[in-house]
């Protein structure tokens, strides 16, 4: 029975507007903004920290809060980027370029308003895209066989490795290392223990939370302590938040362009908010009317990237919700959260859990609205937050990590694992090995194995099936092209330039 779009949206809003879900959406948005403002802690670390807390809640509520943290962080990062030349998030680095200059010119308020309104518009459009894509992509995905799934996941892994910073070769190796780590535990099909060395806590596999917290959260603390940041407090007052007519005229096309670019790049595995922000900045520099003013505070340089990063943050949910494939590290954490809640992400999720899907979509829009309304008046408070010295923050983060890691399974082995992974995370950073592909590989590995086995069983052991099925062959071809393309020096330099800003 086909339910209409309107009916689905109505379901979504009824779910999202429940008191509990509203509360958690607000909580997520506030926490997200706070960590977006604070340098040294980002959405990945925070979400892995808060994962254990979400287990006590129903799945919809949990995902609503975690999603709020993700797109809230995009809003928060812009605030410090504009006011203090301090990007709270990687995706806000670009905003510092023009936004801080605008603040020096006395237009801080306008920059902040542009960023907030542009982000809200982009977020709304992107939310509609997510809503539309769900049923559409689900139809497509239902004709997928196990071989197609395997190839799709492989493609996702390849693209996330290709678009990661640094060496593509090492990132692919990190993906494979992640898959290998995901194999630890009990083999589902035969019941045999693999790589567990007789440790009972490992029979369910390495704790996902321990891996995420150790590599992303704790290693980050150690690295942050190594580089004491110098903070320059901007004394300019944030005056009127209103934009002049001319600024509206200049910002609007940038917001539109940013929305389109961000929506597209967010869907790409390995894409996400940072890539979208950089891409939009590059585009505005080439295309916008005010491009000669870049470097002295051009509003297009704030409007475009800010719209893009928010759009990307929303649309990166599309591969997750419709195909079960995480587009970036944050989405990998969401997959982990869903699996622990007992939900199998994939095309069936839209029909099996309609209130999760539609509730999340409605909540994303409500969350964006909350952020727009709350952030501008509360800017003073966010800036005060920045004055809490890191030396008081990090023990708090550490403590939350310890309790969080323990509370997943009520055993200390997980906390010991976190400490070990922290050491590895530190090593990864020093050796320039990217951790995000590791996490994505870890999450997708077990699923890929299942599909591989099933595909081979159906094809009676013939590996050619991956090339014979058209969907699978297309996926593999795209993956191969992406790999080869990134190995070409020109494209690699272009990517490095974009990453370096």
């Amino acid at each position: 029975m086909e339910t209409s779009f309107i009916e689905n949206l109505a379901l979504g809003f009824s779910v999202a507007l429940s008191f509990q879900n509203l509360l958690f959406a607000l909580l997520g948005a506030l926490i997200g903004t706070a960590i977006g403002v604070l340098p040294g802690i980002g959405p990945v670390a925070t979400i892995s920290l808060l994962l254990p807390i979400t287990f006590g809640q129903p799945a919809t509520t949990a995902i609503i809060m975690l999603a709020g943290i993700y797109y809230g962080a995009q809003y928060g990062g812009s605030t410090t980027a504009i006011l203090l030349n301090l990007p709270g998030e990687i995706s806000s680095v670009v905003t510092t370029l023009e936004g801080y200059k605008m603040a020096r010119n006395g237009r801080a308020g306008a920059a902040l308003a542009t960023s907030a309104i542009g982000s809200f518009f982009a977020g709304s459009v992107a939310t509609i895209l997510v809503a539309a894509s769900g049923p559409l992509l689900t139809q497509v995905a239902l004709s997928f066989g196990p071989a197609d799934y395997f190839s799709l996941m492989l493609l996702g892994l390849i693209i996330s490795a290709v678009l990661a910073q640094g060496s593509v070769l090492k990132s692919v190796a990190m993906v494979i290392l992640g898959v290998a780590l995901g194999l630890v535990g009990t083999d589902v099909q035969t019941g045999q223990q693999r790589f567990t060395f007789g440790i009972p806590e490992l029979s369910d596999g390495i704790s996902f939370v321990a891996l995420a917290m150790g590599v992303f959260g704790i290693a980050e603390i150690i690295l942050n302590l190594e580089r004491p940041e110098a903070r320059e407090v901007l004394k300019t007052k944030v005056e009127g938040l209103l934009l002049t007519k001319e600024e509206w005229k200049r910002a609007t096309p940038s917001v539109l362009r940013g929305t389109v670019l961000g929506s597209a790049l967010g869907i790409l595995p390995g894409g996400g908010a940072s890539l979208a922000a950089f891409g939009a900045y590059m585009m505005e520099r080439k295309v916008s009317k005010g491009r000669h003013m870049f470097g002295q505070g051009a509003i297009e340089g704030v409007a475009g990237p800010e719209a893009a990063n928010n759009a990307a943050a929303q649309t990166s949910f599309i591969p997750l919700l419709t195909l079960g494939i995480p587009a970036n590290a944050v989405m990998a954490l969401m997959v982990g959260a869903l699996i622990i809640q007992g939900i199998q992400p994939g095309p069936r999720m839209v029909e099996a859990q309609p209130d999760l899907f539609w509730g999340l979509i409605a909540s994303m829009w409500i969350g964006n609205l909350m952020l727009l309304v709350i952030n501008l008046p509360l800017i003073g408070m966010w800036v005060k937050l920045l004055q809490v010295p890191y030396k008081f923050l990090y023990p708090a983060i550490l403590v939350f990590c310890c309790i969080g890691a323990y509370s997943v399974n009520n055993n200390v082995f997980d906390v010991y694992s976190t400490a070990i992974f922290a050491v590895f995370g530190y090593m990864f950073n020093k050796l320039k090995m990217e951790p995000a592909p590791l996490l994505i590989g870890f999450v997708l590995g077990p699923m890929m194995e299942e599909h591989l086995r099933r595909a081979m069983l159906l094809s009676r052991g013939d590996p050619m099936v991956f090339l014979q099925r058209p969907i699978s062959a297309t996926m593999l071809a795209i993956g191969a092209i992406a790999l080869i393309a990134m190995m070409l020096p020109n494209l690699r330099k272009g990517k490095e330039q974009a990453m370096a800003g």
């Binding site: 494979i176 693999r194 704790i218 008081f392 550490l398 323990y406 082995f413 090995m433 590995g445």
Partner: protein, 208 residues
Amino acid sequence: MKINEKDVASGLFFILVAAAGLYINGGFLGIGLEQHSLGTPRRMGPGYMPMLVLWGLMILGALTLIIGLFEGPDPLKRWTGLESGVFGSAIVVGLAVGLLAPMLSPALSSGYAALGLGMLAGFATLCFSVGWRLMGFICAAMCAFCLLLDTGGLMLALVATIFISAAAEPEHRARPVGVLGLTIFLLALCWWVFIDRLDIRVNVWPQF
């Protein structure tokens, strides 16, 4: 030959992990720790996917290593003599304490106390060198948390964690008053969030 030391080290790491994994999996000509049956491509045994993945890792590790010999230069920060020595002794001390602890007292052989003590000793040893100090303190703090949680209760474990991790920051060592205030605040906050609101199952107060 312009050596990219970071890539060479990364490649080595991948190769070592892959080799260890393959050894355990039983992929090398039947020599293996846990013999996982490989099965046939049609009916893959538990050892099949690990074999594929680990061989892939080995190959990529080797490629990274070889290419890293020419793509340089990207030098690693050289360890001082003290840093290398401390690193080595940390591993030795950690293993020694971990293996010997159960023999000292029966209470220490249950649960993961031996593992925890070994790790704690190892990380504490790391604190002797400036380069390793931060990691040593932070990870030692986590180990202290684990060791104290069961018998000492959450509050005691948190106090230990906060004190030890605060020791990593020179400003805290200079002005301990801040640490005290922070500890009280965090104890109250954690009690409210985790015990009162979330009701996690853990001993709060010391059991002795």
